[in-house]
Symmetry: C2
């Protein structure tokens, strides 16, 4: 099908996920490289050789496209840490250490490769909070499962693993939050292994 006719033909039900995915793919690239603010739905449509109206059949706004892009990125991050959380032959402190390190490394890598992702994150945080909150909830659910394992193994003490998971997550924000990692260049922060050891201490400490 030539680009000239593509825009006139409604996608068949089978094609729908593919078109949607192509929109998300092109939007993700444009948000990373040009920035969320400067990317328009018309730009995305032009790259896909579609009419803007066709893009709007799949997403009712740029905000909705950003939500799909953010869900794809957060889905990748969640799959990465879920794999570490269930790795065999590692105790709970080691799994938490690897998860936090992976979150930090991933966040830095994405930001260093594409400083403009920060606009996408800003937009999601101010316009699409529920997408961000769902990501936070899923990360903390992974932490809670590993903390429960650690309690069972006798390494950790929290009586409320979910609350401890939320504290652990709040405690690493300086290392794993896209808006802060991007400002970290000049900052004299404790090295991440020192910070992880400190927070694992909190999980080992007797509750008062």
């Amino acid at each position: 099908m030539s680009p000239a006719t593509a825009r006139l033909v409604p996608p068949s039900p089978d094609e729908t996920p593919t078109t949607r995915e192509r929109i998300v793919e092109v939007a993700a690239r444009s948000f990373r490289e040009i920035g969320y603010q400067k990317t328009t739905v018309a730009d995305i449509a032009r790259t896909l050789k579609m009419s803007p109206a066709n893009v709007y059949r799949f997403f009712d706004s740029k905000k909705a496209i950003n939500e799909a892009v953010v869900e794809r990125v957060t889905g990748e991050i969640e799959a990465m840490i879920a794999a570490i959380a269930t790795a065999p032959n590692l105790d709970a402190p080691e799994r938490l250490t690897r998860i936090v390190t992976a979150l930090h490394t991933d966040c830095r890598r994405r930001w260093e490769a594409h400083p403009r992702v920060h606009e996408m994150v800003e937009a999601a945080m101010s316009e699409s909070w529920s997408v961000c909150q769902a990501h936070v909830d899923r990360i903390e659910a992974v932490f809670a499962r590993v903390i429960e394992d650690g309690v069972r193994e006798g390494q950790f003490t929290p009586s409320d693993p979910r609350a401890a998971a939320a504290c652990l997550h709040a405690g690493i924000v300086r290392y794993c939050h896209p808006l802060l990692v991007s400002r970290q260049q000049d900052m004299t922060l404790p090295p991440l292994p020192t910070m992880i050891a400190f927070l694992l201490g909190a999980l080992r400490a007797a509750e008062p």
Copy 2:
């Protein structure tokens, strides 16, 4: 002296601190209320019924004025926590609890009263990092002193109180960083007392 002649008369050495202080005062108010971005040196001069050239005799740029404003605010915060750090009849965990709570409350209060302070902080973080770093260092020095007291009292265990202070500070960033507190409205964060108890656990834990 009338405003019309004031601008023509060079300040005497005695007057210098007062004029400088008035510039900082007016700038601080304008940055809070109108925002750092929209405030110009000409606006500050106009409010003070001075020429911009007179303002430039004291500060060579808007950035330099912002540094003085930020130093005033951070000085207030540091004085507040230094007073808590040396309060009599409180043990080290209680003093740390009060310091962290005061940092959080102060940060929220400033942001809620004047959401535009966020621009001033953004500008300081990107243009005047050494001013921010000096503030971080002074906060962590206060934390380190209280942690040392806690070690002496047998309540805390860190062998390196300064490193522990840096970890404690990194751990509370979600509650005390002006750029994050301002986004906190919708966030389901652990309540601050839960987070403080968690971090005090890290200070009580036996080192591995």
